[in-house]
Amino acid sequence: MKRQGIAEALRDGIAEEMTRDPAVFCIGEDIGVPGGWGGAFTVTLGLAEKFPGRIIDTPIAELGFTGMAVGAAMMGMRPIADMQYGDFLFLASDQLINNAAKMRYMSGGTVKVPMVMRAPIGATGRGSQHAQSMERYFTGVPGLKVVAVSNAYDAKGILKAAVRDDNPVMIFEHKLLYGSKGARAEPGAVDATSEIPDEDYVVPLDRAAVRREGKHVTILGWLLMTHYAMAAATLLAAEGIEAEVIDVRSLSPIDYDTIGASLRKTGRVIIVEEGPKTGGVSAEIAAGIMEHCSDSLMAPVVRVASPDVPVPFTPILENAYRPDVPRIVEAARRLAQN
């Protein structure tokens, strides 16, 4: 066992998969430059020296290198593509949505696209274009699996499961959770370290995880919001409200078994989402709850999300934008009384 942050755990996971399978390689911007960063958040630091020729630095060409990952995957490789900031996925969307996601179906099941796309998201002092929560744009695309990692254990296990999966998998990471050190460290970062086993393990791509058990209200979150929900649960416990916290983790497909089991206990649910309320993943989850487990509901579904505005720069406004612990606590208090 060793204690690691998400960046280190992902790095080890990538290295282990590259050692295990020669078809695995990394492609992206600034990921293997000698003397460079190892990607914008240090995830691939040192891997270029360890795996010569298999950490491929690309020009600044997100559409291009994503398409190359799709093509390479179709020819038997298992690329791990690194999108420096999630926001740049808009540039790559044609290749992800029109090619990676649909190739299996429109070929009548004869083509496989075993690729991984990693992308960091989150409002972190960078203004509107390096901050968006991008997962919502991909969860509604049939043919893509979408996951979000909130701690180092999951990050490594999900990365490995994604590399071994025969389908395109998008892994969303949060800039405040990497635990990147030195010049790449983030102000406002949250501790997302885990005890990492020495042996090989995977975390399934389709399961939510109960992070804290409780009986009065269920709080659903992912990425940074899982951590805020946990902090809120601690405060709520002091008031006698026992919150069950679930890390949704798998955003497509959504694990309604785990969510439903929790709702049968609590009958009340809050969905916390960083990102504008309109059209978010929380809207999908709310609708899914109505379809799968509305019998358990004793009160209407509550959402805590960002307002429908672009992500602002100035810290005062950015902090007001992002759901925080007090807003989650307040929503839970009201819901518990309902």
Partner: protein
């Protein structure tokens, strides 16, 4: 024309006739598909390649069976030239489970991985980064294969062209970038969208070789594609091959091509790739008009049989709607 002056005489008789047969197959296939579409018996939409047969046949003849091609929404000719059967294609067009993509692809997404053809990429230029990635895989795997990436003149204006071509260039990837320049992107003529209409000139700016050849002369296309394939296989790729050609039919469906000038159409129709090659073949001295007529008759019969079969081919059940989403 004397026997020795025919370019077709440089090739074995059977080999040369195969080129002719493939071009006629593509032409007749497209003509029948057009009829079926207009008749209303075949579902979907169509983007056809009558007049461009020499590009598909010339390029694919220069490839090995385990080389790959990527194609576009106008891919019937590429598919036939890469060895897909008339039957698997007609079945696909009729939406049958016996089609090359089980009826889930349709006209724009014809493909068969076993025959080296990725399902057609119907987003303009979308196949270019994809093909570069396939070539990257071949390079990483040290496999001696090449990819021929077909696209039209319209794709050159897309960002994907620049990104994919640039990366193919910096890593010397084995991709033959085949631009079928038929002068029109949908209804827009290239002189409205290109300051320099010589597409192959762009290769130099990326640091590799480009070449423009007569895309309506199948042997010229074949020779250029052979050179390109050899260079790619020797690690000296990519190569940009611009093939000048002309689309005899509309961009799609019922497009009547009113935007094509009459004199332009006439000039290009006079350079029809099949008619020109027939003249070359007849000049050899060992090919007669009745040989050529017999080839066409065989093909017509093959297609007629194929259509009859396709109309009877099994349609998917509704359970097939939700299969093949994930591997």
């Amino acid at each position: 024309m004397t026997k020795s002056s025919s370019p077709a005489a440089a090739h074995d008789r059977a080999f040369a006739l195969k080129f002719y047969e493939q071009m006629v197959l593509i032409r007749e296939f497209e003509e029948r598909v057009k009829f079926l579409f207009l008749e209303g018996t075949m579902p979907g939409t169509i983007h056809q390649c009558q007049g461009q047969e020499a590009t598909a046949v010339g390029v694919c003849a220069a490839l090995r069976s385990d080389d790959f091609i990527t194609s576009t929404f106008r891919g019937h000719g590429h598919a036939l030239a890469k060895g897909l059967t008339v039957q698997e294609m007609l079945d696909e067009l009729f939406g049958a489970t016996t089609g090359c993509c089980k009826g889930k692809g349709g006209s724009m997404h014809m493909g068969n991985m076993d025959k080296g053809m990725v399902p057609g990429i119907a987003i303009v230029a979308g196949g270019i980064p994809l093909a570069a990635g396939m070539a990257l895989a071949f390079k990483l795997q040290r496999r001696p294969q090449v990819v021929a990436c077909f696209f039209g003149d319209g794709a050159v204006a897309e960002g994907a062209f620049h990104e994919g071509v640039n990366m193919a260039a910096i890593w010397d990837l084995p991709v033959i970038l085949v631009c079928e320049n038929n002068l029109y992107g949908a209804s827009t003529r290239i002189d409205k969208v290109m300051k320099n209409p010589r597409v192959s000139d762009r290769a130099a700016s990326y640091g590799f070789r480009g070449e423009t050849v007569d895309g309506n002369d199948v042997l010229t296309v074949y020779a250029a594609a052979q050179r390109a394939a050899e260079e790619c296989r020797a690690g000296k790729g990519p190569v940009l091959l611009e093939l000048l050609t002309y689309r005899r039919t509309g961009h799609s469906r019922r497009d009547a091509c009113h935007y094509q000038a009459k004199d332009e159409r006439e000039a290009w129709f006079a350079r029809d790739p099949i008619e020109r090659f027939a003249v070359q073949l007849l000049a050899r001295g060992d090919v007669s008009q009745s040989d050529l007529d017999a080839i066409k008759a065989d093909i017509d019969q093959q297609i007629t049989t194929g259509v009859e079969n396709a109309k009877q081919a099994p349609q998917p059940t509704l359970a097939d709607l939700t299969t093949d989403v994930f591997a």
